[in-house]
Point group: D2
Chain length 105, copies 4
């Protein structure tokens, strides 16, 4: 499944619920911070070691997966309403970072 087809899935979902009126870029960016905060909350009191082992507990693993899906959903909706090609944006940013942080060859 490509990012584009995920965007279509979510766009149809929003349209069928008449949520498009709420999905301004500003509102989606704001909703994304909320979901990122909820994802962070799953890790906030854990030691680094505990955080590496978070998926061993089924209930915690499920919460983490769902919060990650929420972050992805709002990012994809935002890409859709702004007509941003996320894959191209990612490549561009990786190329910029390669210049900024040269790695070992």
């Amino acid at each position: 499944m490509t990012l584009r087809s995920m965007q279509e899935l979510l766009s149809d979902f929003a349209e069928h619920r008449e949520w498009e009126q709420f999905h301004t870029p500003k509102n989606l960016a704001m909703a994304l911070t909320g979901e990122a905060g909820e994802l962070a909350a799953e890790f906030q009191w854990l030691t680094p070691e505990q955080s590496a082992d978070v998926m061993a507990d089924p209930r915690h693993a499920r919460a983490v997966r769902h919060e990650m899906a929420d972050v992805l959903s709002y990012l994809l909706r935002l890409a859709d309403v702004l007509d941003v090609d996320l894959e191209q944006a990612l490549r561009e940013k990786v190329d910029l970072n390669a210049l900024k942080y040269p790695g070992r060859t």
Copy 2:
């Protein structure tokens, strides 16, 4: 390019810079909130109408695209280190939301 191949690109990038030691799930979740906050900052003083038109200004558009790429990067790194299948997580969450918010047929 699939999500998996994007994850590999970013995983190689981190490995070549010996960043893997920093990429604990906890640190990545924290970094994601920082990038989500920077993305939100691009929209914070805009009216809903201005936010819909944000890509018309090339400098602003570039900043938005790069912040979105940063959010995606940390989400993909987190999926990689936790071995989460983001596509499957997204489908699961969409199915749950379809039960929670029934749409019109």
Copy 3:
């Protein structure tokens, strides 16, 4: 009640629950982003006008007040464990901003 006495109240609260082990600066900064995200979530789908009227609904007002208290609590805990004088930090930042953004006289 001064900021210092609020910090003491919260420090005693944490001590009586043996939470101090969790209250590293890193964890508190992370918890603060989570609470800021929950506060943002109260406003994310509102128009600017609706957001100005949010306190008219008692249930919504209560949620906003409690999320604001949560943000303040973690900020005060962080100031406490880092020994930061928040009042002095605020004055410093206001002075810097006065140079950066000169206002009308």
Copy 4:
């Protein structure tokens, strides 16, 4: 300096720059997440031990103090425009948490 007098300082500052038009509750809540994200960014790659020692480096200490001041500023502006008594909200939340998490006597 009381929270109220800090709020007045910031309210005057905003008024003299004609920023009040931007300071809707929604925009301020969004700006707060951005600043919380910047504060988190100061800690994101640190171990718990390094995070406890962050104030030993003057440049890092200054950044942390200023980000904390930024979070406080937007929280105080939000309290001002919503007419929320932050001190009372904090007491209420502490009382609720005391019931939720009984401590040792």
